[in-house]
């Protein structure tokens, strides 16, 4: 399999990165992704990143947790082995089931949402990341452009330079690189 090639603009200022992303959008250069030390707000619009549907998933996970624990509690205290404790009704005792239902809802939402996020972002323990620069998690801002699907390399480079990139790098990663979206 042939390696994947990227042209990367290295910036040291998020404002310049934002401007470059806007310019790329205007001139029809397709940006693969940006790599930044923190979430640069506004960049997602220029890159055309759609809002994640994780919040819908989270809601569904919460519903699952709620329903499962509701069924479990009713099965245990009503169907399988009803126990009369202090004369209090244990059958379909909705009010006393509220706390445990709530905790299960929260637990399912939290864990399953996080696991979905990791799976969707291809995050696993010990994955060795493909980095453009060791400082991209500290103080450098990278704009990565796919060199294969964008043919006009000269125009890309001059755009990056004009927008204030401190360096332009050509990087090759193995075809199964960790940046696959």
């Amino acid at each position: 399999m042939k390696p994947t090639k990227f042209i990367a603009g290295v910036f040291d200022d998020p404002v310049l990165l934002l401007r470059a992303a806007k310019k790329a959008k205007e001139t029809g250069i397709k940006v693969y992704d940006c790599y930044t030390p923190f979430a640069v707000h506004g960049l997602d619009k220029h890159l055309g990143i759609k809002r994640t549907r994780l919040s819908i998933a989270a809601f569904l996970y919460g519903c699952t947790g709620f329903v499962l624990s509701f069924i479990l509690q009713n099965y245990i205290s009503w169907v399988d082995w009803p126990i009369n404790i202090g004369g209090k009704p244990n059958t379909f005792a909705l009010v006393t089931f509220v706390p445990v239902c709530f905790e299960s809802t929260v637990l399912c939402t939290a864990l399953l949402t996080i696991f979905t996020f990791w799976a969707k972002s291809r995050m696993f323990h010990g994955v060795i990341p493909d980095l453009f620069d060791n400082r991209q998690t500290s103080d450098l801002f990278i704009m990565a452009i796919d060199a294969d699907s964008n043919k006009n390399h000269d125009a890309i480079e001059s755009m990056l330079k004009q927008e204030g990139a401190i360096d332009i790098r050509k990087k090759e990663f193995a075809s199964n690189h960790s940046l696959i979206q």
Partner: protein, 464 residues
């Protein structure tokens, strides 16, 4: 662009992005200082005391504790509620202040969340060992079985507590770890040795700062904050229901849930202040945890302390107004009975002492803040002691009246949990970034960075 100067700057010292990584990673990348070794060793000694005391409690039995037939819950449950309460400030800072968009939380949330996790670990020790036969602890889970009572009782708040505390612990750990991932990646990419690179790489999960991941990450953190907020309220509400649903005078009151939650936030902020006043000095984080951060936390302490004090007075009023003689006796006994000293310690530390924070000079004096934070911790420990022991030691039947004293084993366990807490905290400070690197960078005013000034000079125009 107009820059508002209504608030003091959150991070002082004109830091660049690189400088922030440098400052926060310094304790991780350098060998530990003498102060660290001294603190860690002392904590470790106390951790050993914990191991010893617990071995005695399990090996010989709960007869080694001072509990008796009237006071069946004493130091153990006092310490349980004390530690759970301390844990709550972490979630409050990380979740509720995130939803309220309080940016000053960024410098303190990481260590407060770590504190939550360690405090809940300490808390869990008490109910588990109070069961006596620790190895049968899993009976508290709803497992299909053919021994003892067949299923758990979902009518009991004690069972709700099992679910609440374990959910709270799990969610707190995951929330904390989620926040750590980008920062672990920062440490990974700065690491010099092979071992460090390997270890941080294992936990960084391949984080590369991709914009798509960042966008999802922020939504996930928001969802976690959204569900942690009712979670933290539910946990202490359920803890209070352990007492409120019983028919013991002094416990059987509807005011307990909000009163316990306010108390938890109060004591938790007390502990956060104790830790941070020291940490900012020892770890050179004074530019990140500024005097204004301490000021803001002091205001929270004062507010919640006053709420708690208000609850104490309301309880007295309700006891008188209800006309129930047992209830009235319980409260008279609290203030003027055998444990009067515990009651007035609580009143002084929790209601009277925090009122000094009305003065700005005091809110900005680290020495006084540190002393105050210790007073708050003592006061909140006594609050739980007063609620639990004074209510139990005077039963409905005068023949069961008794006096409770802790034994050396119980004192050992309590002091030992401080050993566990601080051992974990020292290890955390050494191996993980104790201030959120990514979030701190994100709140830097973008036009006041050194890099921005350079850019503006180049472009030949200035704002304002």
């Amino acid at each position: 662009m107009i820059e508002s100067h209504l608030r003091e700057r959150l991070i002082t010292g004109d830091k660049s992005y690189g400088q922030i990584s440098e400052d926060i990673c310094r304790p991780i990348e350098n060998p530990p200082t003498k102060a660290w070794w001294a603190g860690f060793s002392l904590s470790f000694v106390f951790l050993c005391i914990l191991g010893l005391s617990l071995s005695v409690s399990v090996g010989i039995g709960l007869g080694m504790w001072g509990i008796n037939k009237s006071v069946g819950w004493a130091w153990d449950i006092t310490n349980f509620v004390f530690w759970v309460g301390i844990g709550h400030a972490g979630t409050l800072i990380s979740a509720i202040l995130l939803l309220f968009r309080q940016k000053w939380r960024m410098s303190i949330n990481r260590s407060a969340e770590a504190m939550t996790i360690f405090a809940v670990m300490c808390a869990a020790i008490f109910p588990v060992f109070h069961m006596g036969r620790v190895w049968d602890g899993f009976w508290a889970l709803p497992l299909p079985n053919n021994f003892g009572s067949l299923w758990v009782n979902f009518n009991s708040p004690l069972l709700w507590d099992v679910f609440a505390i374990s959910t709270y612990f799990t969610v707190s750990i995951f929330f904390w770890y989620m926040g750590l991932i980008p920062d672990i990646a920062t440490v990974r990419d700065r690491a010099k040795t092979k071992t460090a690179k390997w270890a941080y790489n294992l936990f960084a999960m391949g984080w590369n700062g991709s914009m798509r991941t960042w966008m999802r990450y922020e939504i996930v953190c928001l969802i976690l904050a959204g569900i942690s907020t009712p979670l933290v309220l539910s946990v202490h509400t359920i803890v209070s229901m352990d007492f409120a649903t019983s028919v013991i005078p002094g416990w059987h009151t509807t005011i307990f849930p909000p009163y316990f939650v306010a108390g938890a936030i109060f004591s938790g902020f007390g502990m956060v202040l104790t830790l941070l006043v020291i940490a900012r000095k020892v770890m050179n984080y004074e530019d990140y945890i500024t005097i204004h951060h301490l000021d803001a936390m002091c205001k929270v302490v004062m507010l919640t302390g006053t709420i708690v004090g208000c609850a104490y007075i309301t309880e007295f009023f309700v006891a008188w107004y209800s006309g129930v003689e047992y209830e009235q006796y319980a409260f008279k006994n609290r203030a003027f009975g055998d444990y009067w000293w515990a009651y007035w310690t609580m009143m002084t530390c929790n209601l009277v002492a925090p009122q000094v924070f009305w003065f700005k000079k005091i809110r900005q004096n680290p020495t006084i803040i540190f002393i105050m934070s210790i007073i708050v911790n003592i006061g909140m420990w006594f609050e739980r002691f007063v609620i639990i022991v004074t209510s139990l030691h005077r039963d409905y039947i005068p023949s069961s009246w008794t006096y409770y004293r802790p034994t050396i084993t119980e004192i050992g366990i309590f002091l030992g949990t401080f050993g566990l807490f601080f051992t974990c905290y020292f290890l955390f400070c050494k191996f993980l970034p104790s201030i959120s690197i990514a979030e701190t960078k994100a709140i830097m005013p973008i036009d006041q960075l050194p890099i921005a000034k350079e850019r503006m000079k180049k472009e030949g125009h200035s704002h304002h």
